[in-house]
């Protein structure tokens, strides 16, 4: 029972990181139908910014987190402007290849500039572990859970309550009709990238703090798993991405806990395939009827 609770807590911490990443995927996919392969690398950029901000600019945790979010959203908007916008009306597979190209570029560019080896993330917060009924939870885990929940609530507020959020939902449903009522889709898409990338940047700083190690290729696998989480939750749905992220995190730690850690990635993909076959629209997605 205790081990189970312990794994639950570890799974939730990991899951909230996946959930933050999955939110970015799901928003971008919902609006321009592009699997943004470079999203995992934005998360890496956020982690690296956090590393340099703490080590050289002597920022605290909050400063590093907020500045990483700003930097990540700037790079997200820039990537969208330079690489994805020219391909707005091209076949989707071309945009996808461009996204992969951007991902390669960021990974290898960072390896080239800063070296490919892993480095220790500065521990701005000394880890303390609290015990409740024999279940340990560290302050870093609490911080990750708390910060992610705050960010998710904030995101939900932006999407549901603000004018920009309304415009985002409008463009996601029908870009042409949105244009007719005076929404500039380019602005909305830039804003979507800014929001999603900010969440990824925050996730990057927090994972650095949690795992204590960052490297230029760190975004690849979590990026793909977060995409899986977004698909499981129902792509295009914001609550779905959050729930999907937590589910994938719990599944991964669960499989590890029963001693099959070598197969944890396979388990994630197996769940994905089963999910797609049984419920292709995901947990929270809308089913679309086929019209002849």
């Amino acid at each position: 029972m205790q081990t189970m609770m312990q794994q639950m807590i570890n799974g939730l911490s990991l899951g909230s990181i996946y959930a933050l990443l999955a939110l970015g995927y799901t928003m971008v996919y919902g609006i321009i139908k592009l699997i943004n392969f470079a999203h995992g690398d934005i998360y890496m950029l956020g982690a690296f910014w956090g590393y340099y901000a703490i080590n050289y600019l002597h920022f605290g945790f909050v400063g590093a987190l907020l500045s990483a979010m700003v930097m990540a959203s700037l790079s997200g908007v820039l990537i969208e402007y330079l690489a994805y916008r020219p391909l707005r009306n091209s076949p989707r597979i071309a945009a996808l290849i461009t996204a992969i190209g951007v991902s390669f570029f960021l990974e290898n560019g960072m390896s080239f500039l800063f070296g490919a080896n892993a480095r220790n993330f500065p521990q701005v917060i000394t880890t303390k572990t609290y015990y409740f009924f024999g279940v340990g939870i560290s302050n870093v885990q609490l911080l990750i859970l708390f910060t992610s929940l705050v960010l998710m609530v904030l995101l939900q507020f932006i999407i549901k309550q603000t004018t920009m959020g309304k415009a985002m939902r409008a463009v996601a449903v029908d870009p042409q009709a949105a244009q007719l009522v005076g929404i500039n889709p380019d602005h909305v898409i830039s804003f979507t990238f800014a929001l999603g990338s900010a969440l990824a940047g925050a996730a990057g700083v927090m994972i650095g703090l949690y795992y204590n190690s960052i490297d230029p290729l760190m975004g690849m696998v979590p990026g793909i798993k977060a995409f899986v989480a977004a698909v499981v939750g129902g792509i295009g749905s914001v609550p779905g991405a959050a729930v999907g992220g937590f589910l994938i995190g719990l599944l991964e730690t669960g499989v590890q806990a029963i001693g099959l850690s070598a197969y944890k990635d396979a388990a994630v993909y197996l769940v994905l395939i089963l999910m797609l076959v049984v419920l292709p629209a995901g947990l929270f997605g809308k089913r679309q009827r086929e019209k002849v």
Binding site: L87, P91, F104, E107, N108, G109
Partner: protein, 317 residues
Amino acid sequence: MLKNLRSKLSWLAIMVGGFILINVGVLTGVINTFIENALVTVGINIILAVGLNLIIGFSGQFSLGHAGFMAIGAYATAIVTQNMATPLGFYLAMALGVVIAIVAALIVGVPTLRLRGDYLAIATMGAAEIIRVVINNLKITNGPAGMFNIPPLASWPTVYILMCVTTVVIVNFIHSRAGRAVMAIRDDDIAAESIGINPTKWKLAAFVLGAATAAIGGSLHASYLQTIAPSDFGIMNSISLLIIVVLGGVGSMTGTFVAAIVLGIIDTALQNFGTLRMVIYALALILLMVFKPSGLLGRYELSFGRKRRARKEAASS
């Protein structure tokens, strides 16, 4: 039959000509081991990418799991030829790899080919990753360390001939009734179904044929390089094959050849740049896609039959 004879002979002449050209190059020493290596890599990539182009370009199924089927072929060859290091063993191993890949493609394809577009891509990617994780944990495949000292039974002529054979098989498939059915499903599956084409059956046929050629490519890869590891068959490898297909033009076999050769040249030329190589490669990819989204050749195909027909029409009018 006779009508197409001249175009068929032209193709045969090109294949034989290419073979003689490489042979002369090797004999005179123009093609050293380094260039031969690069050429064989291009050849294997062509085998793999032609199969992937059949799946993506002609049957419209977005598969991101090609490296998984390649891994099956490679490991089947490695395991069998280590116990039976003869040319016969090599071809038996290749056949075994193809059969296992076909079975795997059926298992993966039957449930997932109902999905469309990006969902199918993610599902096939997941399937390929499952294959890789299983190989990573089996005893017979030597786990994450991979297999080495695989007997070198595939030389460049083997790769060249198999490249020609697989391409001819796939191009003939495309030009047959099956190919037309598959393309009809790609363009509009409901319309195709209404004229009596079974979409599931033909999509699966294209997928299985693509997987079989991937196994052949993997088999050659294992035998030529003599070492394989599960990490050689990850998502990135599926993606680099996808890049060849998209760069050449989705739905153009000629484009696949051109792109594989162009990328091979870029790769070889940038060999000395170290980490910068991948940066330049990535930039080249982004720029090519931004300025030429339909790929180098779009849907253009080199065809002697069509050229001759066009000349005849011009002469008669």
